[in-house]
Symmetry: C2
Subunit: 343 residues, 2 copies
């Protein structure tokens, strides 16, 4: 491939990180254009960008189009990807709309980059929660298979976009206002006087077991995504996967408590060795060196720690943390683009 | 029993709630005295108390002594319970020191109040995380047995005492200071300039998978307590229990994502019926009515919601929330005292 002309569609929390990642990783683009619903000037890390208005016509000279996507509602790719593909661009979509379509590969490069060549113009980026889980379990799966995966997630506000970040910040500012004068703390002071718009409940000083909307049998869209996407990425529907996805008052980085069983009989040393040799993972073998959300923010790796035996045979606990805007979204999309260039 | 003389030992986060619960539930004490390491005046809900200095001699006229306990280090009960018992008092200890001793019943009234009569002067109150879990699973256990329980907890700062509450509050105030002027949010702004003393990492805008200290095989003291105490309370070591305990930036109320399998074959309707009829539990059958930490603060019930099928047979998810200072500590202790009066 010659040096490609690259487009980023959407300039919210993920779109901005896509631009940052392309620059930081020195992606060899010939041109980089930004598109959104309305025209504007934007400064990203000291560089000025002219954001152009998106339309089906803009893709005529684009080789790779990165769609930032929207969680929870249909993304721009539904409207514009067909035109982009027709114009000869390869679309890498971070939205949820195409992920489960048969002719759309769902890619996490560390796990299944061999599937990229099957694309017919659209490649999908998985959900943030799924990506860091399959990266952490990738080498374990290759060596021993997976019988079951039980996930409880601790997800950051930024997964719901820039307005969600602002909402959490505003809740904090409301809490602080006049807090000094209130004297001795009472639990009722944790409630803030603020009208939530993004989250269904106050997120500050709370945890909210709802990500997305409620669907069949009481599961949320997020919990359903994790199951279906993981099956597709590993091309293995035999893995029993169950998830509870929870929003926590964190700005960036999702944390995950994962309880999993391998298919073949394993020891904890087997798992330790696999984790130490897993591409994209920084593994902390010492218990007290656990990674946290704050540590992982703006880092590219998936961090894993607190490996312990579970209560069943060949079953283990692992604690996995990653920046949901980077490996969980923008970075993974840019890595897919990098793989495209190699082919 | 005649109207008892009651003592509360320790006037931290739990001790204060013990006094509040005794008053609110109109516990029929003849006298109520408060003890701590140093003498002081204290106002609890508009009433003044003279906190007296604790010593082995103070128990001569005490019938029931509620020890508030300390998580993480030896509680006052280690030093004073023998003298209290010798003087004829019954000790109800919220600390961890006696919980696993053979001749000390470990009581959650909704589950095993029949064991109270086996005491020889000391009755132990379980760990907060354990209490709300066994209350929620109590009726399910009685009807169907439990094969396994996989717990991921979201625990409030107040579980580490009053100074921990202050630490989280101070972190929030540090965050707000000058935040308005910093303009557009960057993830790095989530880090506050504050010296943590109670928690090993910043708790505000973070999640910290460490409660207590690290012990054998990478488990924390909290994770070990949940397993051993649950076995003891159900008098059933056959239940396979695995836990990951995580501190979250919440002031009051622990939340728990529990994945469990029943011993006998069950349907989700069986579990729904059991939950609706579980003593001490308020169950929300509608998915969107999930309880959160903020809702449960200063409430006496254990709240349960988001019941869903798991990925294995007769296996389910449930979301359980309770005030860790009340049902998780002070209220449960006072309920034990109430049962004592009935015997």
């Amino acid at each position: 491939m010659k040096k490609p002309n690259v487009a980023v569609v959407g300039v919210g929390a993920v779109g901005i990180e896509m631009v940052r990642m392309l620059k930081e990783r020195k992606f060899p683009f010939s041109s980089l254009r930004l598109f959104a619903r309305s025209q504007r000037q934007m400064n990203i890390e000291g560089e000025n960008y002219q954001v152009e208005v998106i339309s089906p016509q803009v893709f005529s000279n684009i080789d790779i189009a990165l769609f930032a996507g929207t969680e929870g509602e249909k993304g721009a790719a539904v409207t514009y990807a067909p035109a982009a593909v027709k114009a000869g661009a390869v679309v890498i979509d971070n939205g949820a709309d195409f992920r489960l379509q048969d002719n759309v590969p769902l890619i996490v490069p560390e796990v299944n980059k061999d599937k990229i060549i099957t694309h017919r113009g659209i490649i999908a980026n998985p959900n943030c929660t799924t990506i860091q889980m399959v990266v952490a379990l990738g080498e374990i799966y290759r060596r021993f298979g997976l019988k079951k995966v039980v996930l409880t997630s601790f997800q950051a506000a930024s997964g719901a976009g820039r307005r969600a970040i602002q909402e959490l910040r505003q809740e904090a500012l409301s809490f602080c206002q006049g807090s000094e004068e209130k004297g001795e703390f009472s639990p009722l002071m944790a409630k803030v006087d603020f009208n939530q718009e993004i989250f269904s409940r106050q997120l500050l000083f709370n945890v909210v077991p709802q990500i997305g909307s409620f669907k069949e049998e009481g599961f949320t869209t997020e919990e359903i995504k994790v199951v279906r996407e993981t099956h597709k990425i590993f091309s293995d529907e035999s893995i029993k996967i169950a998830a509870t996805c929870v929003r926590v008052p964190v700005f960036v980085s999702h944390s995950e408590a994962i309880y999993f069983s391998t298919k073949t009989s394993t020891t904890i040393e087997d798992i330790e060795n696999a984790l130490a040799q897993t591409a994209g993972v920084k593994f902390f073998p010492a218990a007290e060196d656990f990674p946290t959300a704050l540590d992982a923010a703006q880092r590219e790796e998936v961090f894993a720690g607190r490996l312990r035996r579970g209560a069943e045979e060949s079953t283990y606990w692992i604690w996995v943390v990653a920046d949901n805007l980077l490996k969980g979204a923008a970075l993974n999309a840019v890595q897919i683009a990098e793989e495209l260039l190699k082919n």
